[in-house]
C-alpha cells in the first residue's frame, strides 16, 4: 500500500514537473493584462502622475527598489526605478485610460475631448465610441493617400495635385488631437490618428478581466508589433507557420521518397539497415550544426552568388543576408532524417504477409505501393511528417544563423502589416526571446508578450506532435487494406 502510494506520488509529481513549463508560460502571459491597471502614484519630491506599479521581482525586492511605468508620454526610460521608501502612495485610478501610440510610448490619462476640425465631443460615452473607431479610419485614409502619392510619382501634374492633398491632410491630422487630463489636473494632448489602442483601466471584475484577456489574445495573434512595445506578434507567428510548412514539405518529399525506395527495393540488401542507421545518426545532429552548414552553404555561398548575378534588378532583395527560404531549407534538412526514420518504422508495421499476397499475384512495385502501402500506412506517414515538423518548428538555433532577426522585417502589406518574405530578415518568437529588451523599449511589458509568443510556439509544437501520435496509433485491419 505504501509503495503504491509512493509510486502514485512520484508519477503525479513527475507529470506535473513535465507540464510545469506550459503552466508557467501561461501564468507569465496573463500578466500582460495586469500591467494595464493604471494607478495614481505619489513619489516624494514629484507631482502625482498616472503609472503602473510593476510587480517587483525577487532581485528588486531584495534591494528595496520599485519600478513604475511612467505614462506621461515623454521620451526616456519607460520604467522609473524608485526607492521603496520614496513611494508615498499608489491607488487605483478607474477613470484613467491606457493609450498605445505609434509615435511614442504608452500614455495614461483621463480622456476629456477631441480637438480639431469637425470634432466637439464632450460626453464621455460618445468619446469612448469615437476613440474606438476614428483613429483607425484616419490611418486608413493616410495609407490610401500614401498609396496615391506613390502611384503618382511618374506623372508630375498628378503628383503636385496629390502632394497638395497630402499636405492638407497632414495639417488637419496635426490639429486633430485628443485632450487628456493628467493625475495632477493638468492637460496633455496627443495626435488622434496615432492612437493604436484606447483601453479603459480595468476595475477588477472577473468578467472584465476575462474579456480583456480575450481581446488582448485576439489582438496579439492578429496585429503586428507596435514600434513602442505594444501590438501583437502576427509576423512572428506567421513565420513559425511558414517555416513549419516549408520544412515539412522538404522533409516529406525527400524523407518519404527515400523511405518508399528502401521499402520497395532496398529490403533484401544491406541498404535498409544502413540507411536506417544513417538516418538515426543524422537525426541526432544538433540544430546549431545544421545552422552553421545552412549559413555557410546557402547564405555565404549560394545567396551571395545569386546577389552577384543580380537576378532581381531594381529590387532590394538580398539572398546573401539570409531569409525564410534558407531557414526553411535548413530546417527541412534537419527534419528529413527524423521523418525518414519514423516513416521506415511505420512501413515496418505493415505485415509482410500482406505484401506477399500482392507479390504472389504478380503485382508490380507501383501497384503494391498504390494499392497496399499508401492506403494502409498513410496515417502513419502523415504522422511522421507532422512529428518532423513539430521538432523543426521548435528549433531556434538554425534560424538565428540563417536569417531570423529581432526587429521588424518582411514584406509590407496594407501600409502597416508585415508578412515574412522568402528573403530578408523575419521575426521569430525564439529569436525574440533570446535577450531583452523585448519588442521595443518596454521590457516590463515585453516579457509577458514574449511569454505569450513562446506559449503559442510551444502549444503549436506540442499539439502537432500529439496529433501525430493520435494518427499513428490507429492500425488498419486486414479487411480495410486487403481486397
Amino acid at each position: 500500500m505504501n509503495a503504491r502510494f509512493a509510486a502514485r506520488t512520484i508519477l503525479f509529481g513527475l507529470v506535473t514537473l513535465c507540464v510545469m513549463p506550459l503552466i508557467l508560460l501561461a501564468l507569465i502571459s496573463i500578466r500582460s493584462a495586469n500591467t494595464r491597471s493604471v494607478e495614481v502614484c505619489r513619489i516624494r519630491g514629484m507631482r502625482p502622475f498616472f503609472g503602473v506599479v510593476l510587480e517587483r521581482d525577487a532581485l528588486d525586492r531584495r534591494s528595496g527598489i520599485v519600478r513604475i511605468l511612467h505614462g506621461d508620454g515623454e521620451l526616456g526610460p519607460s520604467a522609473l526605478a524608485v526607492a521603496l521608501d520614496d513611494l508615498l502612495d499608489h491607488r487605483s485610478a478607474p477613470s484613467a485610460w491606457v493609450f498605445e501610440r505609434e509615435d511614442g510610448p504608452n500614455l495614461y490619462g483621463v480622456p476629456k475631448s477631441i480637438l480639431g476640425p469637425g470634432f466637439v465631443t464632450l460626453r464621455s460615452d460618445s468619446l469612448a465610441m469615437r476613440l474606438g473607431s476614428v483613429p483607425g479610419r484616419l490611418r486608413e485614409d493616410r495609407a490610401m493617400l500614401v498609396g496615391e502619392v506613390r502611384r503618382a510619382t511618374s506623372d508630375p501634374a498628378m503628383f503636385a495635385l496629390v502632394g497638395e492633398q497630402w499636405r492638407r491632410w497632414l495639417a488637419r491630422d496635426d490639429s486633430t488631437r485628443l485632450v487628456l487630463i493628467n493625475a495632477d489636473g493638468s492637460t496633455t494632448t496627443t495626435r488622434l490618428s496615432g492612437i493604436l489602442l484606447a483601453q479603459p483601466s480595468p476595475s477588477g471584475g472577473a468578467f472584465e478581466w476575462i474579456s480583456i484577456q480575450a481581446s488582448q489574445l485576439v489582438r496579439f495573434v492578429s496585429t503586428p508589433p507596435g514600434p513602442w512595445g505594444g501590438g501583437g506578434a502576427l509576423p512572428a507567428l506567421l513565420s513559425v507557420l511558414e517555416l513549419a510548412l516549408f520544412a515539412g514539405l522538404f522533409a516529406s518529399v525527400f524523407g518519404l521518397s527515400t523511405a518508399f525506395w528502401i521499402d520497395s527495393w532496398g529490403r533484401a540488401s544491406g541498404w535498409r539497415s544502413g540507411v536506417r542507421s544513417l538516418a538515426s545518426h543524422l537525426a541526432g545532429v544538433p540544430g546549431v550544426v545544421w545552422g552553421v552548414v545552412g549559413a555557410g552553404i546557402l547564405i555565404h555561398g549560394l545567396g551571395t552568388e545569386i546577389d552577384k548575378m543580380g537576378f532581381v534588378p531594381g529590387r532590394a532583395v538580398s539572398w546573401g543576408a539570409g531569409g525564410l527560404l534558407w531557414s526553411s531549407l535548413t530546417l527541412g534538412a534537419f527534419a528529413t532524417p527524423i521523418v525518414l526514420s519514423l516513416a521506415l518504422e511505420e512501413l515496418d508495421r505493415l505485415p509482410l504477409r500482406w505484401r506477399d499476397l500482392y507479390w504472389s499475384s504478380g503485382a508490380t512495385h507501383w501497384q503494391v505501393f498504390r494499392r497496399l502501402v499508401l492506403p494502409a500506412s498513410w496515417r502513419g506517414l502523415a504522422a511522421s511528417v507532422l512529428s518532423g515538423m513539430a521538432r523543426s518548428a521548435g528549433e531556434t538555433a538554425p534560424l538565428f544563423l540563417t536569417g531570423a532577426v529581432r526587429s521588424a522585417g518582411g514584406i509590407l502589406v496594407g501600409g502597416t502589416t508585415r508578412i515574412p518574405g522568402l528573403s530578408g530578415g523575419f521575426l521569430h518568437p525564439g529569436v525574440l526571446a533570446l535577450e531583452p529588451p523585448w519588442l521595443g523599449r518596454d521590457a516590463e511589458l515585453g516579457q509577458p508578450l514574449v511569454a505569450l509568443m513562446l506559449l503559442c510556439l510551444a502549444l503549436f509544437c506540442v499539439s502537432l506532435d500529439l496529433f501525430a501520435s493520435r494518427l499513428r496509433h490507429r492500425i488498419p485491419s486486414t479487411e480495410e487494406v486487403l481486397p
Binding site: A7, R8, I10, L11, L14, V15, L17, C18, V19, P21, L24, L25, I28, D57, A58, L59, R61, R62, F254, S257, W261, S264, W265, V275, L278, H281, L282, G284, V285, P286, V288, V289, G291, V292, V293, H300, A333, T336, P337, T364, H365, Q367, S387, G394, T396, A397, F400, L401, P429, G430, A433, L434, A451, L455, A458, C461, S463, L466, S469, H473
Partner: protein
C-alpha cells in the same frame, strides 16, 4: 493470361508506371545520403587552413560535456522512477496515453525552457537557494527538464519490451519484486536504457540556446571551473558576425565539426552497444 490487345496495353501501362515510380523515387532518394556527404565535406573543408587559435577547444568541449552530463545525470533517475511508477500503476490504455503525452512534451521548444529558467527559475534560485541565478548549474537544470519526457518515454518503451514471461517466471520461482526488477527487468532493458542515455547525451550536448540564455557568456560551472561555455553557445555568438574565409570562420567550422562528431559518436555508441548484448 488474357492476351487481348487491350490487356497488353494495360500491362504495358502498368510497367511504364512502375518504371516512372522507380525512377522518381530513386531521384528523390539521392539527397538523403548526399546530405550526410555534404555536411561532412563542408564542415571538414571549412575547418581546413591555419587559424590563430583564440578559443580553447578543450574548455568548450569540457563545458559542453559537463553541462550535458549533469543534465543526463539529473534527468535519468527521475525518468527511471517515472517509468517504473507508470509501469506499476498504469494499465495498457493509460500507459499508451502517457506515451503520447510524453511524446508531445518532447517537442516542447528548448528556447521556451531557456526563457523560463532565465526569467523565473534563475532569479528565484538566486534569492531562495543562494546560488547564481545565471550559470551552468541552472542551464543543466533546464536541460534536464527538457530531457525528462524524452528519457521517460524511452525508458517506458524499454520496460515494455521486456518479455512478461521472464518476469512471471522469476516471480513463480520465488524471487522478490526488487530482485526481479534489478535482476530480470533492468537486466533485459538496460541495452535500450543505455542507448536512450547515449542519445540523450547527444541531444543535451547539442542544445545551444538554453546555455546561451541561462549560462550567458561568462559561465562558471557550479562556481568551480571558470569559462565553461559550450560549443553550441560559442557557435551562436560567433557565426552571425564573421566573414567567410577568415581565421574565425575556420575556427567556427572546426567547432561545428567537433560538435557534429561528438553527437554522432554518442549515437554510434548507443547503436553499437545494443546489438552486442544478447536478450
Amino acid at each position: 493470361m488474357n492476351d487481348s490487345p487491350r490487356a497488353r496495353e494495360s500491362l504495358s501501362g502498368i510497367r511504364r508506371a512502375n518504371r516512372a515510380f522507380r525512377m522518381a523515387l530513386g531521384l528523390a532518394s539521392l539527397p538523403m545520403p548526399l546530405i550526410l556527404l555534404v555536411v561532412v565535406a563542408y564542415l571538414a573543408w571549412g575547418s581546413l587552413g591555419h587559424a590563430t587559435t583564440t578559443i580553447s577547444l578543450a574548455a568548450l568541449l569540457g563545458g559542453t560535456l559537463c553541462i550535458a552530463g549533469i543534465a543526463v545525470v539529473v534527468a535519468a533517475p527521475l525518468a527511471l522512477a517515472g517509468a517504473l511508477a507508470s509501469r506499476d500503476l498504469l494499465g495498457t490504455k493509460h500507459r499508451q496515453r502517457l506515451e503520447v503525452v510524453l511524446s508531445g512534451l518532447s517537442a516542447f521548444p528548448m528556447v521556451a525552457l531557456g526563457f523560463l529558467f532565465a526569467q523565473v527559475v534563475g532569479p528565484w534560485a538566486s534569492v531562495h537557494l543562494g546560488i547564481s541565478g545565471l550559470g551552468p548549474a541552472i542551464a543543466a537544470a533546464a536541460l534536464s527538464l527538457g530531457l525528462l519526457p524524452v528519457l521517460w518515454r524511452r525508458f517506458l518503451l524499454a520496460f515494455h519490451e521486456v518479455p512478461q514471461s521472464l518476469v512471471h517466471g522469476a516471480l513463480a520461482l520465488g524471487a522478490r519484486p526488487l530482485r526481479v526488477l534489478l535482476g530480470v527487468e533492468l537486466g533485459a532493458a538496460w541495452p535500450d536504457i543505455l542507448r536512450a542515455l547515449a542519445e540523450g547525451l547527444a541531444r543535451a550536448a547539442g542544445e545551444s540556446v538554453i546555455v546561451l540564455m541561462v549560462a550567458g557568456n561568462s559561465a562558471t560551472l557550479l562556481g568551480g571551473i571558470d569559462g565553461a561555455s559550450s560549443i553550441g553557445q560559442a557557435l551562436l555568438i560567433m557565426m552571425p558576425e564573421i566573414q567567410s574565409g577568415t581565421p574565425v570562420w575556420i575556427e567556427t567550422h572546426r567547432l561545428a565539426f567537433v560538435l557534429f562528431l561528438v553527437c554522432i559518436g554518442f549515437h554510434l555508441i548507443g547503436g553499437i552497444v545494443r546489438p552486442r548484448i544478447p536478450r
